[in-house]
């Protein structure tokens, strides 16, 4: 895929390491600047957590990465290709996106939700059912639930189905927006472990948005701290905790005890 001249520049070799590359990305809604001058690389095969308080712009950042919205300035490369609104739909088919609500279509069964895009793209039925079996095993969903409609599933089950749908076409990156945010504490703790296991098993690149420090610690190889639409500090949580870049970071991480939950 050839790059437009505007994006020519930095290290070509970096394409292999960074699935997503953001350069000085800004996005405003009306007078509100949601994301301001963010430059960030999402390394392949690792889980990057966008961590911040609610309203910090982390969800906006995720939607910019998925080309669901376009930046006002700056640029985003996905596997070396500049994201544009026109390319959005095609490129998004190689990303798996998960919403807090699950975003499952209520008129389709769990299985139909998972295979929807595969059907739209004309993947063979045999391939689809094989993949469905793999995913059921992977996310540990009871197979009989596949025939149910979303309204017949619990919140946790819906998130598992949503994760299956995002993984269906073996995406280059998994973008998850507070996937556990709407769950009760017990289910939430359970699914945190499940997600961590799935990430390891699949070995795919992940970008996950959360405001929960423990969740970031458990699921993220790297953490990108966001405050007021700006990127404050990036790195493994332990490193950030060891040398916070400012007093706010120190305070924000104060509740965390080196990975021990609680």
């Amino acid at each position: 895929m050839s790059l437009p001249s505007t994006s020519a520049g930095p290290a070509v070799g970096a394409r292999d390491e960074a699935v997503l590359r953001l350069r000085d990305v800004t996005r405003t809604f009306g007078t509100q600047t949601a994301v301001r001058g963010v430059s960030l690389e999402v390394p392949r095969g690792r889980a990057t957590v966008l961590l911040g308080e609610s309203g910090s712009g982390k969800s906006t950042l995720l939607r910019l990465m998925a080309a669901l919205i376009a930046p006002d300035s700056g640029e985003i490369l996905f596997e070396g290709t500049l994201l544009t609104p026109e390319r959005g739909p095609a490129l998004r088919r190689r990303m798996g996106f998960g919403l807090q609500s699950g975003g499952l279509f209520p008129h389709l069964t769990a299985a139909e939700n998972v295979t929807l895009l595969a059907r739209a793209l004309g993947r063979p039925a045999a391939w689809q059912s094989r993949r469905l079996e793999e995913l059921v095993d992977l996310v540990r969903l009871a197979p009989e639930l596949l025939g149910r409609w979303p309204l017949q599933l619990s919140g946790g089950q819906r998130q598992r189905v949503s994760l299956m749908r995002a993984l269906m076409l073996e995406p280059a990156v998994l973008l998850l927006d507070e996937p556990l945010g709407a769950l009760d504490p017990v289910t939430r703790g359970e699914l945190q472990h499940e997600l961590a296991r799935v990430f390891r098993a699949v070995g795919t690149t992940v970008v996950l948005v959360t405001h929960d420090l423990q969740e970031a610690a458990m699921l993220g190889d790297r953490v990108a701290l966001i405050r007021g639409g700006e990127l404050v500090q990036v790195g493994p949580l332990a490193e950030i905790a060891a040398c916070p870049s400012d007093a706010w970071v120190a305070r924000f991480l104060a509740g965390w005890r080196g990975g021990a939950p609680g």
Binding site: F105, P106, H107, L116, L151
Partner: protein, 493 residues
């Protein structure tokens, strides 16, 4: 296919079509003309009770009917808006391909009638006599109060002093006379109520009212298509005098004798050498009549609804996709809804003639709004997270519309279709005004004859049909709306 149909139509000569307006006298005269044609071996059918002068006149111009009874005054006032004088009607009509056919021998103009006892007591014979009695109470039909040649002109012409003047329904005016609340009413000079209610017709001594001589209007090309038709119609020339027409109106309206029988009775009695073609065809039973009407009614509704669906759903989708255009589309179909149905039907006639086609076209147009609006609302109302979910998957747009958006909007769309269908069942009763049949036919005739039984024979099945359609859509919901959406009514979409 079309060519074949046309060929078949050309091969079998089309019957002569006689039209009539939706009031008893017109229907009776139309029936007379039809039977006279039939007696000469000319196949003729009566398109009875069309909804008003404009409807029949336009049908005649288009060739949807070949003959219909009209009044010279109506031609002058309504058709030519006073631009042509009575004496010049022949040439004016000829220029339009219409022949001013035989005059029938009676006049049915506006007249004033006074209660017999009041007239006797005050010595009222002529309209001028009213001048001396300003205390008289007048009750006029609303139309008479509004018309150019109506009350205001009459008052000016005669210098009438009465102050107590009320506008009310023609029928009710007669009732007012009966109860003694009204002394003088306007009437049509052949109204059977003149005798029944003991009214004295006052002479129009200043010749204020225009002449309303009854004539047959005939398409000039009729004779070429149906040789002998013109001569057959001549049989009626000057044969029906005022009293004869009043008597026929009375038996149809007051004694409720069906018009074909009234006409046959007259022809037997008054036309020498009249040999009625065996009048065997008995009136079909009530169940049979209702079944026929049901078939006609459902055909109108079904065809119109399918057309509405085919146009309205794409329009609704378009409106949901393009906001600006959407507003314009919604406004346009909304405006259609505000056109009164009779006006819409009349507008259709120059394009589509009379019969089922203008009725279907009108029902189709009325059916658009609920479906367009609900399709639009259903699509726009899809929950934001589902919209984003569809975006995030990167579904191809056609697939997304058919497999995600339309199914999610289906409860709303179906509700719109149901509304359209129920409205269509109701509105289709007006189809009878343009000769489309259906349950409107008995309703219209029932109103005309003040025959409640006949009226209910149309109104009750129509109401039942509306309920049936409503129930059918409840069932249809199970087929159309995906099961996943019906699981929990408290959380739709």
């Amino acid at each position: 296919m079309t060519a074949l149909v046309l060929l078949a139509l050309a091969a079998a000569p089309a019957p002569v079509r006689v039209g009539s307006k939706a009031f008893t006298e017109s229907v009776v005269v139309g029936e007379l003309a039809t039977q006279v044609l039939g007696s000469r071996g000319i196949r003729a059918e009566h398109v009875r009770g069309l909804g008003g002068t404009r409807v029949v006149w336009n049908a005649l111009l288009r060739g949807d009917v070949d003959v219909y009874p009209e009044y010279t005054g109506t031609l002058v006032e309504e058709i030519f808006s006073g631009r042509v004088r009575t004496g010049a009607l022949g040439p004016a009509l000829a220029a339009m391909g219409i022949e001013l056919g035989p005059a029938l021998g009676f006049e049915d103009g506006y007249a004033l009638g006074a209660r017999d006892d009041v007239a006797e007591r005050l010595g009222l014979r002529r309209i001028s006599d009213l001048r001396a009695h300003p205390e008289l109470r007048l009750g006029f039909s609303n139309e008479f109060l509004d018309r150019g040649d109506g009350w205001r002109a009459l008052r000016r012409a005669y210098g009438l002093p009465q102050k107590d003047v009320r506008g009310l329904d023609h029928e009710l005016a007669y009732r007012g006379v009966r109860s003694g609340a009204i002394d003088v009413v306007d009437l049509y000079s052949t109204d059977p109520e003149i005798q029944a209610e003991h009214l004295r017709v006052l002479e129009d001594d200043l010749h204020h009212f225009p002449e309303y001589r009854a004539v047959l209007l005939v398409r000039a090309d009729l004779e070429a298509r149906a040789p002998g038709a013109r001569a057959a119609l001549e049989l009626l020339r000057d044969r029906i005098d005022g009293p004869a027409m009043i008597a026929m109106n009375a038996s149809a309206r007051l004694q409720r004798v069906p018009e074909p029988q009234v006409a046959a009775g007259f022809l037997r009695a008054r036309l020498e050498g009249w040999s009625a073609p065996a009048e065997g065809a008995a009136q079909p039973g009530r169940a049979r009549r209702i079944a026929t009407r049901l078939g006609e009614h459902l055909t109108l509704v079904a065809i119109a609804l399918v057309l509405s669906l085919a146009v309205a759903i794409p329009l609704g989708v378009l409106a949901a996709r393009r906001q600006r255009l959407g507003q314009a589309v919604l406004a346009a179909v909304g405006v259609i809804q505000t056109v009164p149905s009779l006006a819409l039907l009349v507008l259709m006639i120059p394009l589509l003639g009379i019969g089922t086609r203008p009725a279907i076209a009108a029902l189709f147009l009325y059916g658009l709004l609920p479906i367009v609006r609900n399709t639009h609302a259903g699509l726009v109302g899809i929950a934001p997270d589902l919209r984003e979910s569809a975006d995030a998957l990167g579904l191809p747009s056609g697939f997304r519309l058919w497999r995600v958006e339309l199914p999610l909007a289906s409860p709303s769309i179906l509700a719109g279709v149901k509304t359209s269908a129920v409205i269509a069942v109701g509105t289709a009763t007006l189809g009878a005004l343009v000769g489309a049949g259906g349950f409107g036919q008995p309703i219209l005739t029932g109103i005309r004859l003040a025959d409640t039984g006949l009226l209910l024979e149309g109104a009750l099945p129509a109401a039942a049909l509306a309920l049936g359609v409503e129930a059918a859509f409840e069932g249809l919901e199970r087929l159309v709306v995906p099961r996943g959406l019906r699981l929990s009514p408290e959380r739709p979409g």
